[in-house]
Symmetry: D2
């Protein structure tokens, strides 16, 4: 990803585009074969120091690179950039870089999804206590919890693939987007639709039907939204892990190297630093869409530079952050451990409380009024909980068994039993988790080995 | 839109969902026909004062409405909410409100697009000076400028339609999203997939395969992104108008009522207040996606309330703002005027400068070195401009005609002619504008009369 | 707070300002005593329906109110608004509303600080386990933890008082801020500095030396920053509480009404809903500063309406949210409970690990190399922890007692003792907590009974 | 600024703090003179490659630097970091970097203010047309317009100086902020207040009374707010310039190098690229405060790493951006030109309209009803303007002179005269501008030569 957004790669793409345009213009006899040959021969000889030297004088980076390239090509230098404006180079190159980056992100995302699919399938049935409001609620399964991340990541993948397929270049539309210079250069008869299509074919990305001097900055905004969305899902996963890794819960644990130092003062610490890093960086990433929105909203008339300076940060940073987040997320998902002892302990500790919903269902099925029973159970639970917090033993089963309004529907013994030997009811968690994972697996297909060779 | 997000409409939807669930449960003999009949008879008798009275006591708005409804139904009240958790009502109702709102926004957006399509077609050929950096650049056409908004708005419509089609309910998945309560209630044999599908069919919206206690908050985030995107495009249009309405440019003018007061101190003022309002409100709208992102990123485990309080502002405000922006945008586009005198004046004033690109093309076609000619033209332009700014007459044509390095490719007379009688070269602006407008028109189809009856 | 930002209160302030200006102009014989008397007599007869009726026609809310007021005053109506522009009324009234609101917020903040001071003093010595990375770290005291919120809230109070004292009106500077109309009206000889000072004295707030048509919007931005800052600190406190209320930790608990329903499905739930509400709303509040920044950054030349429409949301919402957050924060702090049983349990459970830093200090004092000992302790801790997580007994003391490199500095018995009977070393927590609380108490002074009568 | 935030400078500060602590601990005989001597001798020998090598193994950057430093000091290495936790080094070093940066920013800001003071004084009387809503409004002066930026920048300077003076270190408070390790190490009798004060004196910055493992992240947030505020004011100035540089207005022009290329396609272009850059970058800067807010709001209990990874971008980027903005702002203000011809032309063109407020005042002084006259003038202005826009001559003076309701207060000749020979009434603009500039000049004092030597 750093390679894609490097200064050198950018200039290579600029030169690539100049040469591609020259190739097309050669068909119109604007460029001679020997000129084209010379241009191609020097295409990759990017000389950044020389270009910066020129830029220092003329304060225009693209024109500086153009002159540096032209200096290397005594024959063909003069025919470079015919009928073009800077943004015909810069903007198209940026779209190519975004395309490269999307291919790369797609590959990482698929790998993450592949790992997650396996995890969901493996743990689809494994019961864990579910938490709402960070309070124990009702049992669910580990696989189903993971399936919630999987569903979101899969949505991101669908969005990414759509955005990638719809990505569009500016084309060769010139200073105000209407192909005036190209039309002037190639004449009234020229089929400029075909010229732009040829350009698109050679670069492998479609072209916007309408542009100003730049392609619509909404495209950047969509891109940052996509990336920030991936950040949101990884943030959620990492935050869950951080909570579940607190020793009193202790259910999940992020990988920890054998020689890793947790704290310079507290040698025993095992901190969820990867998860914390994900949360920290994803919030930074979350700030970029508004900036991209500004660029879309403030681009006045045929263009202003409201976007220019901040896009030099915006685009690379957004992609680099998303890349880093996916790397961390993959490491976490691939290497995190689950502590069966802790999971079981938590499940047992809170299951008698969770059993109340089962009891409520049972009472209703026997004809009780739901709203009344809910209120009585609520009071028993609060009383029992208060005693536990004062260090007294758990009295919930007894309070319920002695409740006469409930005994009308069920004998005391049975009431006590439902609470004391709580059935771990995880509902359709396993089924739903497995179903999603299988569907994703089928759709995403063979996950290894894709997304290579993108630069 | 205010109706959709009213307190009353929300409670109607809650009751609708309770009744729909009761209808489905009636098939499983959990609800008797006379109970169902009573529930239906009281379904629309929302009594907000009574519900608030109860809420004041129990601090839970949904349970308060449930009790208020149950009070009205001595027979059927006790079977309401069987196997459900609050979010099975609240979340599904919110999705229905979002669906209603999207239908409404779609209708407004289509109307705006319809107006814009006509404007683009009408003015496709009409030449205007194009501006980059707020500086006159090269000519384009009025229709082509408008086509740039059209293309963006059309993208928003495509996004809206996709999001609307993919909108999904939470379904009846209960406290931790695994249908445990429903499974317990209806038994191991029950086909819960079918139950949820029936629920979806009756409400007209699909269901998420996997949820926690809530549907994934990414869905809210997508929604706010969509709306904020519409805001960005309208912001851009309004900002352009504000600039073009400054009297020194004077090309566009927003509608102004005959009795409208521009300023309490300056009676002659005609301020672009609609456009300013659009810019002001769209920036407010642009702040909501990050909040929705937070809600997606901070929803811990099977759910927390990180989202709850702010969604009461987030969802209605985002839709109400988008609605208001579209109303203003439609008024602007439908009633704004273009000042032909001013447009022509600006075109003539700056055309001789803009003619330089044509001259550059012509010189190159005759064999001149593009980079050399560019540099000479730049110097002539700067010299000429400096004189104009000192109040002297325009000398550009003369400077160019006298340039010996140019005379090598073209006689002085012809050089002078290109500058003095500048050909207004708008390139393919008209063609590109018309092509887009026709395509949008075809795809969006018959634009009137749609989107009605959405509540 | 709702009263301050009500439509009626706004119009009362508008009329107040018109009358104050008329009073001052009466000294210059521009307003006759009987006119003034009539204006004063009708000043409070705000008639919103009539004003809206007029606004509907002329599309200018301030002028509509002016006409409605003038209609009520056949004698004096014609001399209203002399030498003024709308913003001389609207902007000054907004500053008065902000001033009222700050007084109100200050009062709430002081009350919160007063409660917190007492809590810090009461619990200054009470030991609790400290957590870093949500992992047990080393002991601290409850009062010291609370002192960290106190210090931040005290900073907010200092900031609030400075901002309140520096708050400035626009004054009577007219359409472009240079007092041209007032100068024309009152003549070259008039002492306009004195006129504006008189205006400031009557309204109780200073005046900006320089304005455009409006006061600088940086002032709004400072205000939203102040409020968002309060939100950040309350967010932090509430997030801590939510974590500490998870039953496995169980140290803190937010107030819970005896009849409060935690969940419609799970009657036993006791959710930290106040704390969750604080976190949810403070994130909404956190989105307003950027909007205020936009208003400051986009106010072009002598003014544009970039700010106008969104300030109708921005200002009231920011103050109402801050008010609501402070109400919730006060309730939480005043009524939350701490569970001594849980606090002690957690302290004992993790103290042996925390004792390692004490041991490290002791070994270093006896001449050991800090970096070496840190590494050995780290390994013992990780080994011991791993066993605990597999359900085996705690072996840390034994591993350390048997470490020969440590025995060089201390006998095995003493090593074991330090771990097994860990000294709860809370350092200077009590001293530091008490010192801060006493200083704040002294500075903030008698806290009850202040901040009243602000409307 | 890049130097301050360089990797090397950071590590130098880390080592500086270790040595300062060792110096203080030497008084307690924990460090021997020869150890101290060795530490000092190696203090500046930062060896980044070696430190990264170690970090690669132990995944902890501070501990890696500690080991690298200790390796260089066989005698004293073992006594480094006694009683400290990582954040006692890292956090204090960050505060020192922020202090350095503030000194640097203060210097730049003062220079900008000094330039602006001179410009305000020079142009205090120079009349220009004022614009509201981007529409000509009433005349003001160039100096007064600039005074509005000056007032805001002066506010930023006041804020900066307060924040700089209040900047506080974390001190030596250890793992959970209560000085437990230091207390253990130095004994119950040690005066730790004095130890921390000594530390503060040596580093030249005060210390927070209360911290967790880190200093309160509100401090970072205040810092980013300060910097973003500077960005807002420069954004406003730059946006004004961009509008005023559009040739149809043409009043201001940013510096343009003689060889600078405006456009690769349009050699005549003179684009306000510095101003556009300021607007672009200040919006990026405006996104950082929310991130800093997150870090303050999400720091749980005695600390989490929510802040860590993003602060590596946040702090340097915010300062580097502010620095870049001030550099551009200074260049703009120092070298921008004003076009007297254009200023005069605009003033004359719009003055007859602006004269209406003068006329309104004159009519009122003669007893006319303000509200009635306002309405008549509004109609005349709109009619006259409409004709101008159709290309007809200006008829405003005639319409007014013929108005019988006005003739009651003033003869037609005089009415016509007020409009045709409009008095350029700039009110107290010159006085107010000069007054502010003199006050700022006096307070800010001798502006050259300050702020040096900050690293």
């Amino acid at each position: 990803m750093r390679e894609i957004w490097s200064e050198k790669h950018k200039r290579k793409l600029w030169r690539l585009i100049w040469v591609v345009v020259a190739e097309i213009q050669a068909k119109y006899d604007l460029v001679k074969p020997e000129q084209l040959q010379e241009l191609r021969a020097n295409q990759d000889k990017v000389d950044i120091p020389r270009a910066l030297e020129i830029e220092n004088e003329i304060h225009h980076d693209l024109m500086a690179e153009l002159r540096a390239f032209a200096e290397q090509c005594p024959l063909g230098g003069g025919v470079l950039h015919l009928g073009l404006t800077s943004m015909d180079i810069v903007d198209n190159a940026d779209v190519l870089r975004m395309h490269n980056s999307l291919v790369h992100i797609e590959s990482r995302l698929k790998k993450l999804i592949a790992i997650l699919v396996e995890r969901v399938l493996n743990w689809a049935d494994y019961p864990v206590m579910g938490y709402t409001h960070l309070q124990p609620a009702e049992p669910t399964t580990l696989g189903y919890r993971l399936a919630s991340y999987l569903q979101d990541l899969d949505q991101h993948l669908v969005d990414l693939q759509r955005i990638k397929a719809n990505l569009r270049l500016k084309g060769l539309k010139g200073a105000v987007g209407n192909r005036a210079a190209l039309r002037k250069l190639l004449g009234e008869e020229a089929d400029l639709e075909e010229v732009e299509q040829e350009f698109a074919r050679r670069l492998g990305v479609d072209i916007f039907p309408v542009t100003t001097q730049t392609y619509p900055r909404l495209q950047d905004w969509q891109m940052t939204n996509l990336l920030a969305g991936i950040g949101a899902t990884l943030h959620r996963f990492a935050l869950d892990l951080r909570f579940l890794q607190t020793p009193a819960i202790g259910e999940w644990q992020e990988p920890f190297g054998a020689r890793q130092v947790g704290s310079s003062a507290m040698p025993f610490k095992r901190n969820p630093i990867l998860a914390e890093k994900i949360d920290s960086l994803s919030r930074l990433l979350a700030q970029y869409p508004r900036l991209a929105w500004d660029n879309a909203a403030f681009a006045m008339l045929e263009r202003t530079l409201d976007d220019s300076a901040n896009r030099r940060t915006l685009l690379p940073e957004a992609f680099l952050l998303a890349d880093e987040l996916l790397i961390c997320g993959e490491k976490l998902l691939a290497e995190m451990t689950c502590n069966r002892v802790a999971i079981e302990r938590n499940l047992l500790t809170y299951a008698s409380f969770a059993a109340q919903e089962n009891l409520l269902m049972a009472l209703v099925q026997r004809g009780a009024n739901r709203q009344e029973m809910h209120e009585r159970l609520r009071q028993h639970a609060i009383n029992a909980w208060d005693r536990i917090e004062r260090g007294e033993p758990d009295s919930l089963a007894e309070l319920i068994a002695m409740d006469e309004s409930m005994q009308r529907y069920m004998p005391a013994e049975q009431l006590r039993e439902i609470i004391l030997n709580p059935q771990i009811n995880t509902g359709d968690a396993a089924y739903l988790a497995r179903k999603l994972a299988e569907e994703v697996k089928k759709r995403v297909g063979k996950l290894e080995g894709e997304g290579r060779g993108f630069i």
